[in-house]
């Protein structure tokens, strides 16, 4: 009996040590980025020898970074709008008519782009957009990112709609509301948090996406991750850490908003 107890204590200790070590390893790279952004010298080292805000000053004086930032926001907002419209309508349509044949292919079809390596998607879309003659525009980036953001919005909305009480919609119809009226006044108020979280996640996906953007952007439309990539291949200085800190901050704020609207557990489960 005592030996079992002894073994169980050891198991518990090993288990805790295991996940705490993993926790540290998962957080460490992000910590490195944030801490090195406050470095005083140009050499990227962790921990830095001395601290300053020098690189933040550099960032706000650098037109290239500011332009890339603007590009990222334009593409992100475009993606959020398009993915939200497509995802919400699609999920709503499937919810109304659950056993249609076309409906059953929507889920797998929407999910499939996430399982294709982004490099292959980038190559494919670059060839396609070149054929169409719209290479290098913001539109191409928005369309590519929507391919990845839509599945998130779609599955978030599926999960939200499945908890919605559909009898309310019948009641609205009985009271004489048209389809658009009942959607705006009955469905939307009940699912608006889901729509908000879906749109927010779509924005973040676009903001952070890198490989497709690398293929599809040009010097005038390059987004933050693409410019960061070009920079780190040339020199490893703390400027990229500054930019990264902003991006991490963005995600943190977005996540906080999403969690406030719902909860962390739910948001996390939607992300997989």
């Amino acid at each position: 009996m005592t030996s079992t107890l002894h073994r169980e204590t050891l198991e518990t200790l090993a288990f805790r040590a295991g996940y705490l070590a993993l926790f540290a390893l998962l957080v460490l790279p992000l910590l490195v980025v944030v801490v090195t952004s406050f470095a005083a010298s140009g050499r990227l080292a962790f921990p830095p020898e001395s601290y300053s805000l020098v690189w933040y000053g550099e960032f706000f004086g650098d037109l290239r970074w500011l332009t890339a930032f603007e590009n990222s926001i334009i593409v992100g907002v475009g993606t959020a709008i398009l993915a939200t419209v497509l995802g919400v309508l699609g999920a709503f349509g499937q919810e109304i008519d659950d056993d249609s044949r076309i409906g059953s292919i929507v889920g797998p079809l929407v999910l499939l782009p996430l399982l294709i390596p982004p490099v292959i998607l980038g190559i494919t879309l670059l060839m396609y957009f070149s054929e169409l003659g719209i290479r290098g525009s913001y539109v191409t980036l928005v369309l590519a990112h929507t391919l990845w953001a839509t599945p998130l919005v779609y599955f978030v909305m599926r999960s939200v709609f499945s908890r919605f009480d559909w009898q309310q919609l019948d009641a609205a119809a009985d009271l004489g509301a048209g389809p658009i009226q009942s959607f705006v006044h009955v469905v939307l108020p009940n699912v608006k948090q889901g729509v908000f979280v879906g749109g927010l996640l779509a924005f973040i996906i676009s903001l952070q996406e890198f490989v497709m953007a690398l293929f599809l952007s040009t010097a005038s439309t390059e987004t933050i991750p693409v410019l960061a990539w070009t920079e780190i291949r040339q020199a490893l200085d703390p400027m990229v850490s500054v930019v990264s800190t902003f991006l991490i901050l963005f995600s943190l704020v977005a996540l906080a908003l999403a969690v406030l609207a719902t909860n962390l557990e739910w948001v996390s489960r939607q992300l997989s």
Binding site: L89, G90, I123, M127, F215, I248
Partner: protein, 310 residues
Amino acid sequence: MAETNTDTGLVGSVGTALPTRSDLAELSSSRKALLLMAPLLAFEALIFVVPFFILLRISVTEGSSDHVYEPGTWSLESYAVVFNSGLLHDIILYSFLLGAIVTVLSVLIGLFYAYAIWRSSGIVKSLLLLSVVMPLLTTLVIRTYAFNPLLSPTGTFNDVLLSAGLLSEPIQFVPATAGAVAGQLYIVLPYAVLAIYSVLATMDWGIVEAARDLGASRPRSFVEVVLPQVIPGIIVAAVISFAWSVGAYAAPDLLSNGITFAVHAEDLMIGDMRYSLAAALSVVMLVLMLVSVTAITLVLNRFGGDFDLA
């Protein structure tokens, strides 16, 4: 699901009283549904399905010295290059090797971490969840880049190990395959953890407790009770980890000297502008990956099935 059933049930019950009205409602509801799904379907068709047919078409054109490819021509020369080039074989093999190593690590660590999240509560659970969600929402450029100051010969890990006396001279983690594995693992692990966790979260802890009350040790209750139930989550985790790691671009490029298929394909596309060859290589990789992903799924399914029988 339950809600939609009551919905159709309601239509059905009205239908028995008023058949004509219900037929009308039924028809208009499926037409409405189709109308609502139309933009999404059109988008997926135009931006996903059609482009892949274009890729397929370009892969069977002749390469060209002054264009990116020779439009209108038919040729299998690009496939011949892919099948005969020793360099490309090495690159493909290295990509799959990297993919396999990262996938195994990602699923094992993901399983452990997801289980830890499932078993924890309160602030610890929130912190653990946050530790996977935050990297997931951070661009992979940053996630990869952070490994440089950590793993380089003059980096943090080597400093710590050297000053602790565990090493006599620094280890070259980057640039090396070890660095690429670490970087790529950090990219896919959050997805693996969440895929497994979302299945675990629907599980009833009572079953595990019952097994323990019946005398199963903790590791045994995990292997025999928890594991078979999370097979669907493990499959998703394995497929995502594998697909993304075989196609890894940033981590191998920045953290190792090894050339993966993705790095080489980017060179072919952007550097050499050889579209036919890049397209053929992509098609071959997609087919190989489809075969491996199917195999992984079948094997894991059987594994789950065996446990069900026992």
